[in-house]
Symmetry: C2
Amino acid sequence: MAIEVVLSIDIGGSLTKVGLVTRDGNILDKVLFKTNAQRPFPTFMKKLQLEVEHLQSKFNSEIKICAIGVGAPNANPFTGLIENPPNLNWGQATPIQRILNQTYKLSVTLANDANAAALGEMLFGSAKGMKNFVVLTLGTGLGSGIVVDGQLLIGEHGTAGEIGHVNVDPKGRMCNCGLQGCLETYASVTGIKRTVFELMADMYENSPLKSLSFEEMTGIEISDAALTGDKLALAAFEKTGKILGSKIADTIAHIDPEAIILSGGLSKAGNVLLNPVKMHMEQYLFNAYKGKVKVLLSTSTSADAVLGPAAMAWLELRNIHIG
Amino acid sequence: MAIEVVLSIDIGGSLTKVGLVTRDGNILDKVLFKTNAQRPFPTFMKKLQLEVEHLQSKFNSEIKICAIGVGAPNANPFTGLIENPPNLNWGQATPIQRILNQTYKLSVTLANDANAAALGEMLFGSAKGMKNFVVLTLGTGLGSGIVVDGQLLIGEHGTAGEIGHVNVDPKGRMCNCGLQGCLETYASVTGIKRTVFELMADMYENSPLKSLSFEEMTGIEISDAALTGDKLALAAFEKTGKILGSKIADTIAHIDPEAIILSGGLSKAGNVLLNPVKMHMEQYLFNAYKGKVKVLLSTSTSADAVLGPAAMAWLELRNIHIG
């Protein structure tokens, strides 16, 4: 009998990941390709179809694709559109749900990448068995997915969970969204890089990071430097953790979750990030929450981004069968 | 046939309100008495029982009390307890749900006052027909109730919606919760009074507010002064509106609601508060939300606090009948 899988598509500003994922989160196969975000959407669709064909051809009748899950920036589950994505040159509204549905004759579930990640953690990762939690994806930006009582918080207009754009400082850093002082300008891979450069101006310690240009430096170099005790990198993690921790305290004062789960590139730094986040979060927490909320590292979507959209597709299939 | 009512009890730090409320939000009768918060709970219970007896005796068999709704600070719907209320000298945990249930042999629904207010607005007030909204009660402190998809957001530990304690400024005003810079130290009746005194130090304009001591001044005098064009009072509303508006933008970035509803004493100032809140909120809003979220004044729980716990009791009765 053919193995039942879902086709999971994680669209990022630079890379798109496509995978075949079983009900229990086993990734049978996957492929990565450049999104080529500056090219129009039809160019992307052609590439995607070729890659999917290639994946399918490896398995033929051994697998049965049951549904499609798509995670993408600015994806709206109500409209089925990718709306005004700042990092994709696809125009105001791309009807990706309809196009994929027509192409593959399968149910297509769509959500923004961070919301998909939250469901990935719930089904396959750190949030297994939890009903109230928040996932923060610390990548190029800061995405978030909020789960309340076992359901994704979608909101009135399909755009809940933009915690990356809460305000840290009205006179703070310029954000590519047009606002000033957004959390993601501090707490993301790009944010910590900006902090490193700020600290290079303030501090005089030697650091291997000083040999890299702004364009060259990645989160990995900052993490690696911190793990070898580099003072500049450690100070950057301390500052990032303080800002992120204080804002997580604000999120908890809204949602009262069981846990906050950190995912994405920056979370791979582990305790170097986790420790200052926890410390400052506890310091800013209202009494009712102190000592009650866990901060965990992602064990699913950080390992593989395709697990987010895959979880979404499997949950949708479950709803169809129940409903 | 007897009119079906619920017994609604709104416990505040200074006053307790008890009312008999019909299914459609008609208050048949109500009574106010001093909570005497420094006295122990049994003293309060005796007074409450007397007042309830008195209310009942006015109607006798004309009414049938179907359930009890209680709104109180730090009330936890999961445990049925009032837990560590900062303004009530009742000890760590008062099992008010159990005691009222045993006394009156009726189902007792408990929530904190702001959560009750949110349900009051949904059933009887500004949020009629809405499924996603947030109520902010601007009284002595700042309480909040969040409704997601038609359900009160309760959280993992029963304590969601403490927006009064999100951080405005880590070096800001001391809060009676022990933290520093909490939103309620700025955006509440007490908060705007503190702002008036701060501005009296900064500004030199004459103002009728200058004849009042800190202890004498109430929110009403500040509102009245603002409505007659007093510069000091207007500056205080502008500053309050700016801080509240910017933090409402953060709340929207979590919840994506249809509306924010302002209730409580300070909301009675009307447009003098509403206009700066709206303006600054829009300024800080992430693009996806700009122009989409209404800010409204309470039409229910501001008019009468007993409508909050009453709504809770009626919703619980509906659940019992459906469930």
